[in-house]
Each structure stands twice: as structure tokens, then as C-alpha cells.
């Protein structure tokens, strides 16, 4: 009954188009009023939700990613990837995917990854007569890897909610991200062979070395972030701050591709992006308190378990809900809302919370290309000038590849928990 009231109010506010943070907050307010709880708890929970050191990583990873996306680092990563993959049939598509995977090691957001790769590659792909809507669909799909290969903002959020080690989830993101990349490369090659695309220029070691040297500062970024975390030198939040310092150093003082004005504008943009996510965290903490207080997640868990005890069927059901949520909601909000609801159920199924973190993050990452709410698709549409409908038509196969990789990760946790 309580669950129906909570979710009913929330769903209504969401559907009429209230910003998600406010829909969560207002639904919580309404529930608290009807239940006669002292309302100051709203302010207290909002404060407690944001008063967290691990969450300091959120603005820093966004700042670092946005700043490095502004400079020409992505161009350099693209050139490097092309030096050893360009020879393939449909090579530039493969390069797009691999460059997105490289940049995923720099940014923690899918939209930034898509933007960074689409900006240099979309015009080049067009010039070389690659099928445009497939290019845009492929780059949008590859951009979602931005949140799977560490660093990753959704992973930070998940770990804060599920009380897991950020470093450990980061480490376990490499194989899933690579698997998604390989699935997309497979799809791209199949498309290129079917349409008899020509091969690109041959590989020369000299060119690989030359492009590697120019790309080295970008390629070093993930090494600094992850090396710092895993050696125990930095906490994840500190590593994120180091990444931002590194981004300032590289873009402002080494490459000097952006001036102070652009620097200021980038900070403002990142500040807003980060505050929007953090504001959802704040109001969702009130919501989470209500859910926990009335034991809603436990009720849902026992209701689901009374229908079926089969781990594989329930995982499929969870995947389905994640996929639908990914279609209609933006990644961070879906993650913040769904994680606490699923946790008791997942615990009772005996699925490790690191494995579930991967299921959740990869599933919601896929949601970044599934319309109607699909941030990576929007970015790719803006940069390519193609409509969402046109890109969507070419999306079927890249999406199938991603979903296949995701289901594989859901059912073969061996590949997720390979590193502890």
C-alpha cells in the first residue's frame, strides 16, 4: 500500500514533466505530510545525502572529462588508434570504437565521451563516404563505454549508495567495457564487409610511434587516476582531484589549446552538470529514507521471491526493468532510484554487489542510446546534423551488440569478478 502511494505520486509528478530531482523531493514531501513525520527530516536528509567525501569525486571527474574534451586530446587519441587500426576494412569505424574506449579512461560520462569522439570523427567519416547514419549510431553506442571503463560517475554513485569500494568496481569495469567495445567492433566490421568498404592505409611502426608520442598525455590520464587509487596513494575522490589538476596542466599549460575564458566557461558548465546529479542525490536521499523506513525494498524483494526463486529468471526481470528505466530516464537518476530498491532482492539472490554494480551501470549505459531519453544519441545527432529518427534506424545492430554483451555479463559473473 505504502509502496503504491510512494511510486504512484512519484510517477505522476515525473510524467507531467517535473524535473526528476523535484519529482522525487515533492513525492517525499507529500508522503511525509500524510504520515505525520516532522518535516525538518527533508532538510536533514538532503544535507546528509550530499555531505559525503566519496561524492566529491563526482564534480572532479566531470570537470576533468569536460576540460580534456575541450582540448584536442581526443584528436590525438583518434590519430593514435588510426595508426594501428586504420588498415582494416571499415577501419575508421573500428578506430571510432577504440578511440571512445581510450577516452573512456579519461572521462566518467557517456555524453562527454560521445562528444569528444564525434567531433573529430564525424566530419572525417563523412569525407571518406562512410554510411553516415551508421557512423552516428556507432559513435553514440561507443560513447556509452565512457561510464563503464573507469573512471565513471555512475560507478561512484552506485558505490556510495550500495556501500561498495569504488576502486574495486572501477577495476572490474575494464573487462565489461572491452567486451562492449569488441561487440561494437564486430558489428562495424560486419557492416563494412557486407558493403565492401575499402581498406585504409597500411600500418607503419614509425607512424604508430609518432602518434603515440603526441597522445601520451591523454593515455597517461587513466594511469594516473587508477594507479593512484590501486597503489593506495589516493582515495578515489583525491584521484579525481588529481585528474582535474592534470587536466588543467595539460590543456592550459602544455597544449595551450584553451584560454582562460574557455576555462571559466567549462567550469561553469561542469559545475551545473555535477550539481544536477548531486541535487538528485540530495532529494533522493529523502526518498531513500522513506523507502527504508517503511521497508519498501524488502517488501518488493519478498513479493518478487514469492513469484519465483529462480536466480536467472529474476536477473532477467531485473535486466528488463533496468532497460525500460534506461529508455525513459537519464542514467544517474535511474541509478539513484533503482539501486536501493533492488539491493535487498539482489542480496537474497546471492549476487555479489560488485557484479550487480556492473549489471546496473552497463544496463543504464545502454539506456544512453535507447530513445526517447538517450543522451549519447542527442549528442551524436547534434554533431552529425542527422535527426534522432535517422540515427535510430541504424541503431538496431550496435544496440543488439551492446545488449548481447550485457546479458553475457549478467549471466557469466566470472568475467566480472575476475579481479578482486
Amino acid at each position: 500500500m505504502m509502496a503504491a502511494l510512494i511510486f504512484g505520486t512519484f510517477a505522476f509528478l515525473l510524467i507531467i514533466g517535473l524535473p526528476i530531482a523535484l519529482a522525487i523531493g515533492l513525492a517525499s514531501f507529500i508522503i511525509l505530510v500524510t504520515q505525520d513525520v516532522p518535516l525538518v527530516v527533508i532538510a536533514q536528509r538532503m544535507f546528509a545525502g550530499t555531505d559525503s567525501f566519496p561524492l566529491v569525486a563526482v564534480p572532479f571527474f566531470i570537470l576533468a572529462g569536460d576540460l580534456l574534451a575541450k582540448g584536442k586530446i581526443s584528436d590525438r587519441l583518434v590519430n593514435f588508434a588510426e595508426s594501428f587500426l586504420g588498415f582494416l576494412r571499415g577501419g575508421l569505424w573500428v578506430v571510432s570504437v577504440v578511440a571512445a574506449m581510450f577516452f573512456a579512461g579519461i572521462t566518467g560520462s557517456g555524453a562527454a565521451d560521445t562528444a569528444a569522439i564525434a567531433a573529430p570523427l564525424i566530419p572525417e567519416l563523412k569525407k571518406r563516404n562512410y554510411r553516415q547514419n551508421f557512423s552516428a549510431a556507432l559513435i553514440a553506442s561507443a560513447g556509452v563505454i565512457g561510464v563503464v571503463i573507469p573512471p565513471s560517475v555512475p560507478m561512484v554513485l552506485y558505490c556510495c549508495i550500495a556501500d561498495q569500494s569504488i576502486g574495486r568496481l572501477f577495476l572490474n569495469g575494464f573487462i565489461p567495457g572491452t567486451l562492449m567495445g569488441l561487440a561494437l567492433i564486430g558489428v562495424a566490421l560486419q557492416e563494412a564487409y557486407k558493403n565492401h568498404y575499402p581498406r585504409g592505409a597500411g600500418v607503419s611502426l614509425r607512424n604508430i610511434w609518432k602518434t603515440f608520442k603526441t597522445a601520451i598525455l591523454g593515455l597517461l590520464t587513466p594511469l594516473i587516476i587508477l594507479g593512484g587509487i590501486f597503489s593506495g596513494y589516493f582515495t578515489p575522490s583525491e584521484a579525481a582531484a588529481v585528474a582535474f589538476n592534470w587536466a588543467i596542466f595539460v590543456s592550459l599549460f602544455v597544449y595551450r589549446e584553451i584560454g582562460w575564458r574557455e576555462f571559466f566557461q567549462t567550469i561553469v558548465k561542469s559545475a551545473i552538470t555535477s550539481a544536477i546529479v548531486m541535487f538528485i542525490i540530495a532529494t533522493a536521499n529523502v526518498f531513500g529514507w522513506i523507502l527504508a523506513n517503511w521497508q519498501v525494498p524488502n517488501t518488493i524483494a519478498s513479493a518478487v521471491l514469492s513469484i519465483s526463486q529462480n536466480k536467472y529468471i529474476i536477473l532477467l526481470l531485473i535486466d528488463l526493468i533496468i532497460l525500460i528505466a534506461g529508455c525513459v530516464m537519464e542514467t544517474a537518476s535511474a541509478l539513484i532510484i533503482l539501486t536501493p530498491i533492488f539491493l535487498p532482492l539482489v542480496n537474497q539472490l546471492g549476487v555479489s554487489l560488485i557484479h550487480f554494480g556492473i549489471i546496473m551501470v552497463v544496463g543504464l549505459a545502454i539506456g544512453m542510446v535507447t530513445p526517447p531519453v538517450a543522451i549519447c544519441l542527442y549528442v551524436s545527432s547534434t554533431i552529425s546534423g542527422l535527426s534522432i529518427e535517422e540515427i535510430s534506424r541504424a541503431l538496431v545492430r550496435p544496440l543488439t551488440g551492446l545488449i548481447a554483451a550485457w546479458l553475457f555479463l549478467t549471466y557469466f559473473p566470472l568475467f566480472v569478478n575476475i579481479i578482486f
Binding site: I15, G25, V40, D51, F53, F234, I272, A282
Partner: protein, 164 residues
């Protein structure tokens, strides 16, 4: 009509101040966390850096969120409302902005109440009064009201004109 222009000017002015302030908060956050690393690795860990960075995050969240409302960049589900026709949509838009302002007032009122409840409490590491720390919340929500209220007023005026 004058009132609407006045509110808009207030909103623009507030946003300029808040934008600068949030940039300073974030650069401050960067400096504090960087200092924390340097101090721990080379010297001795400070006790106050982690606490200060958390409070800077809180302030930048609520003030930064107001900047999001000014620019209309908060994420919402719009594809359902997009199906509505002109008239209905106008009403829904008014409803959304009215509900938003309602929640902002909830944030202001209970944010202030929370401050009132913490007369003597100080933060563990810095000895900062928690009233100062909590102030960021009602301040952020007040800025949100400043930004969204003119939008609401604008829509009501527009609707009233069409009725005439």
C-alpha cells in the same frame, strides 16, 4: 508588466553572483583536496581538509542546482508532455513551475528550521558553527525561487492575456 521585468533582472543579477561564487567554491574544493594529498604524502595529514571539502560540495550542490534552473538544464521526462496540445501544455507548464516553487519553499522553510535547531552544534574538525554550514541549503533554494518565479509569473500573464 513592470514587476515581471524587475523579477527577471533580479534573477539575472543573482545568477551572475552565484555563478562566480560556485566557480570559486569549486576551485576552492580543488585546492583543499590537493592540499590534503600534498599534506598527507609529504608532511602530516590535516584533520580539517576532508570536512571542509564535504561542506564545499554541499554548498556547490544547492547553489549549482539553482544555476541549472536558470538555464533550464535539469533533467525531466518531457516526451509525455510533448504529446499534449498547446492549451493543455500551457496549464501543465504552469503546474510544473508552481509545484517547483512549492518544493523550493519547503527547502527554504525546513532548511531554516534545521539551522534554528542547531544553536550550539559545531563541526568536529574545524569548530565551524553548523548553522553556517546548513545555510547553503536555504540559500540555494531561495536562488531557485528567484529564477523560477518569474517564469511562472510570465506564463500566468500570458494565459490571462489570451483569455481576454
Amino acid at each position: 508588466m513592470m514587476a515581471v521585468t524587475c523579477f527577471k533582472r533580479l534573477s539575472d543579477g543573482a545568477d551572475r553572483v552565484v555563478t562566480w561564487f560556485v566557480v570559486v567554491l569549486l576551485l576552492g574544493l580543488t585546492a583543499v583536496v590537493t592540499l590534503q594529498i600534498i599534506a598527507r604524502v609529504f608532511f602530516e595529514a590535516f584533520s580539517w581538509t576532508e570536512e571542509l571539502s564535504r561542506y564545499l560540495l554541499v554548498w556547490s550542490t544547492f547553489l549549482g542546482a539553482s544555476m541549472g534552473f536558470k538555464r533550464g538544464s535539469h533533467v525531466a521526462i518531457t516526451f509525455v508532455v510533448d504529446l499534449f496540445s498547446g492549451r493543455l501544455r500551457q496549464w501543465v507548464s504552469i503546474l510544473i513551475h508552481a509545484l517547483s516553487v512549492l518544493f523550493f519553499f519547503v527547502g527554504i522553510v525546513y532548511g531554516i528550521q534545521m539551522i534554528h535547531q542547531q544553536v550550539y552544534q559545531i563541526s568536529p574538525a574545524m569548530g565551524l558553527s553548523m548553522r553556517v554550514v546548513y545555510l547553503g541549503i536555504p540559500l540555494g533554494f531561495a536562488t531557485m525561487v528567484i529564477h523560477v518565479f518569474p517564469l511562472l509569473l510570465d506564463e500566468i500573464v500570458l494565459l490571462a492575456r489570451r483569455k481576454e
